[in-house]
């Protein structure tokens, strides 16, 4: 088992662990942000370059530092490797540069974007972005496309993380959308408008780190921070049936898969990601369709987690419920 040190924290990890996975095991500030890597999707990662880290010592065997920052999501830990993330100012500067690149053509239309509040790019730009854009040219624009009646593709917001393409390949059985064109006019598209007609296509919404793929059944219904996320399940013949309901009163505004602290779909069973089917996601919008388990503990540092529930009274109940759940989990 190789040992790796990241920002001074040493951890022993299984063979084949990437730097990013090791950093997630350590947790906290040590973990680099990731916009395209998704542990549940094979061959994901490496594109966005936000998770770059500095390897100051390659390994015990070959202690030379790596000449360039490496994508931590795609670099395997070697025994004795030493890595800097938050502790290297030049690396932070490089990451800020990557974030600026991701933002120059992004419309920054958060006020009208359904993803706002749970958008990874929003978090990233808060932590690594400049307060003002230095890009003065016209931003790239694309037409909005409906991919069937349930999913909206707002390509202008896309950062080309390829996650949705990998969902189509690995979770749905066929892929009808992909990346067209190249360079800075590359776009996610079906080329000729085609509905993505697959029971699991809705998972593309869950993996999208920005507001490029959103749920049309939730479109403009509510800001996400005004909703109450509740864990719920149902017997489903197609999927695990474990979901999160985003509720307002007794109304189910949106259904998504359950996501962990990294924004990824939780495992439903050991090693089996809890992708949910389109029926659970789009059709089951009544409380009676579901067995409510209780309020969802939102671990990420998103707006929903930052005490912005609709009213304080409910929040208190939620907090005590969450505490109980957590205590149970610990015991």
């Amino acid at each position: 088992m190789p040992k790796v040190t990241i920002d001074g924290h040493t951890i022993e990890v299984p063979d084949g662990t990437t730097i990013l996975q090791a950093a997630r095991m350590i947790g906290g500030d040590v973990t680099p942000p990731a916009m395209c890597y998704y542990s549940k999707l094979k061959t994901s990662g490496g594109y966005c370059r936000t998770c770059i880290v500095k390897v100051t010592k390659g390994s015990e065997k070959d202690p030379r530092p790596m000449p360039k920052p490496v994508a931590s999501c795609r670099t395997t830990v070697m025994d004795g490797m030493e890595v800097q993330n938050k502790t290297a100012p030049d690396l932070i500067d490089a990451r800020n540069g990557v974030v600026e690149f991701l933002l120059i053509n992004h419309p920054l239309d958060c006020p009208i974007c359904d993803q706002a509040g749970e958008c990874h790019l929003q978090d990233l730009s808060y932590e690594n972005g400049l307060s003002k854009s230095r890009y003065e040219f016209k931003r790239r624009e694309f037409e909005k496309i409906d991919i069937g009646d349930k999913i909206k593709l707002h390509m202008t917001r896309c950062i080309l993380c390829y996650r949705c393409v990998k969902v189509a390949e690995q979770v749905c059985d066929t892929r009808v959308h992909g990346v067209m064109n190249r360079g800075d006019v590359a776009e996610i598209s079906t080329y000729i408008e085609k509905a993505i007609d697959n029971d699991f296509s809705g998972n593309m919404i869950d993996v999208c780190p920005v507001g490029a793929l959103t749920d049309r059944t939730f479109r403009f219904k509510s800001r996400v921070w005004f909703t109450k996320p509740m864990d719920a399940h149902r017997d489903c013949s197609k999927c695990c049936g474990k979901a999160v309901l985003y509720m307002s009163g007794n109304e189910v505004l949106r259904v998504s898969a359950r996501k962990d602290m990294w924004g990824e779909v939780e495992d439903a069973a050991e090693g089996k990601p809890g992708w949910i089917c389109n029926e659970c996601r789009f059709e089951k919008k009544e409380v009676k369709d579901w067995t409510i388990e209780g309020p969802r503990a939102i671990d990420r540092h998103s707006v929903i987690a930052q005490n912005k529930y609709l009213d304080k009274k409910n929040l208190k109940i939620d907090v005590s419920n969450q505490k109980q759940i957590q205590e149970k989990a610990h015991n």
Partner: protein
């Protein structure tokens, strides 16, 4: 006259045809190779010190020795004939005139590496060269140099051509592999390296046309003989594609170590600057490498003569040096606008970025727009600083070297010709009149 190892017969009429090629010793080296142990051929290539001629300069023999050889798994030698680096046209020239030299090199290399099938990936625009190569391959099959039981040795070997579709990025070896698999030319994230997992996940070696061709004289004369040519770690001969404002542009085979000054000015090579103008700047190894002003390309910062070799051109690092790269030698005379030339390069990288990773996808376009703004006379001094910062944020942050290739020309142009950028900012009306003709040496002090 320097020794010629690749081009000595290039002017022989009919050398493109098998018969004439045979009369000049063609395929004798392949026969010799079959009499050698495979690992000994690799050893000779290692001894020769041959460095990858596509631009990166990685030792070819070492690359060959990395090839994984798992039992029962096919492995492939792929020739990178996707020559697209601005300023470089040697491979096209060689394939057009000496197709059999490439085929013989591919056969020897494939035998040495144990590859039963190999491919030449040629850029799609070079259709007419594709036909020339295909005709030569057909000849070689008919004569028993390719196919079943090559030259009666019992060795079966197939060589196929594959065409590209128009994408500079496919010159990057993993993008080339993706393209060969019928996909978009998106570079792969490494590791795994092609030597372990290449075409169809099989171990693969990708070599440039010139590298493959150089294997023929190496095996013919021995690695030691090859290593004696050249200077230091820059062994053998190199094809230089000389272009721009020269009296005699063209492809020259030089012994590595020729002084740059001799290469530019002597009649044996480029014959000096067109119209007897003054030399302003040179991009020595294809558009990706740093541009150097005349004084630094002719002499190093220490005042020593600069030589056409990997080490000498790199002397001084990026502060005062450059790289041999692919040998695309672009010469600019005193009337050239460095900023405008840079803009065409940056437009090129913007156009050719595959779009996979964010710094290159977004940064190349941003740089192009800023340069256009400056050329248009709307730039500010802050734009020049921003340009510098953008290139520094791209360099070293991308999946493949295209990011670096886009950053280095910008960095070097600002490093060595900052005053010219500032002139564009300060004196836009004079600049707007004519982009093409711009005398940096005749700055009008009244306008500054």
């Amino acid at each position: 006259m320097g020794r010629k190892l690749l081009t000595q017969h290039i002017n022989v009429p009919g050398i493109r045809n098998l018969e004439t090629y045979r009369q000049h010793g063609g395929y004798d080296t392949l026969r010799k190779a079959f009499g050698m142990k495979q690992e000994d051929i690799v050893e000779e290539v290692k001894k020769s010190g041959l460095r990858g001629r596509g631009g990166a300069g990685f030792p070819t023999g070492l690359k060959w020795s990395f090839l994984a050889k798992p039992e029962g798994v096919a492995r492939y030698l792929v020739c990178n004939a996707d020559e697209s680096e601005p300023g470089t046209f040697k491979d096209r020239y060689m394939m057009e005139h000496l197709p059999h030299l490439l085929i013989e090199g591919m056969a020897i290399g494939s035998f040495a590496l144990g590859c039963r099938t190999s491919y030449i990936y040629i850029r799609g625009e070079l259709m007419y060269v594709y036909h020339i190569l295909q005709k030569a391959i057909d000849e070689a099959y008919a004569a028993g140099f390719l196919g079943k039981n090559v030259m009666g040795t019992g060795w079966d070997f197939d060589l196929f051509l594959q065409c590209g579709g128009g994408a500079y990025i496919c010159g990057e070896e993993t993008a080339l592999i993706e393209s060969l698999e019928g996909k978009r030319g998106n570079p792969r994230i490494k590791p795994p390296f092609p030597a372990i997992k290449g075409v169809w996940d099989c171990p693969t070696v990708v070599n440039n046309v010139e590298s493959i061709m150089a294997v023929v004289p190496i095996v013919r004369d021995g690695g030691d003989a090859y290593a004696q040519i050249g200077i230091g770690k820059s062994t053998g001969t190199k094809l230089i594609s000389a272009c721009g404002h020269l009296k005699k542009p063209g492809v020259y085979e030089i012994e590595l170590g020729v002084p740059v000054e001799e290469f530019i000015y002597s009649d044996e090579y480029c014959g000096g600057i067109r119209n007897d103008k003054k030399l302003k700047a040179v991009v020595a190894g294809g558009s990706s490498v740093p541009v150097l002003p005349a004084e630094l390309i002719l002499k190093t910062a220490n005042g020593e003569p600069r030589l056409m070799s990997y080490e000498s051109l790199a002397d001084g690092g990026f502060a005062t040096g450059t790289m041999l790269g692919s040998g695309g030698f672009i010469v600019m005379d005193e009337d050239t606008s460095i900023v405008k030339n840079l803009w065409t390069f940056t437009r090129f990288y913007h156009h050719e970025s595959c779009g996979q990773c964010s710094p290159c996808r977004e940064g190349t376009g941003w740089m192009e727009k800023l340069l256009h703004k400056i050329l248009d006379g709307h730039g500010t001094l802050a734009d020049v600083d921003l340009l510098w910062e953008i290139q520094s944020k791209i360099e070293g942050k991308t999946i493949c070297p295209l990011g670096d290739a886009a950053a280095w020309p910008v960095a070097s142009a600002i490093r060595h010709f900052r005053s010219e950028f500032e002139e564009y900012v300060r004196n836009p009306s004079a600049i707007r009149k004519d982009h093409h003709y711009y005398r940096v040496n005749n700055l009008n002090p009244e306008l500054v």
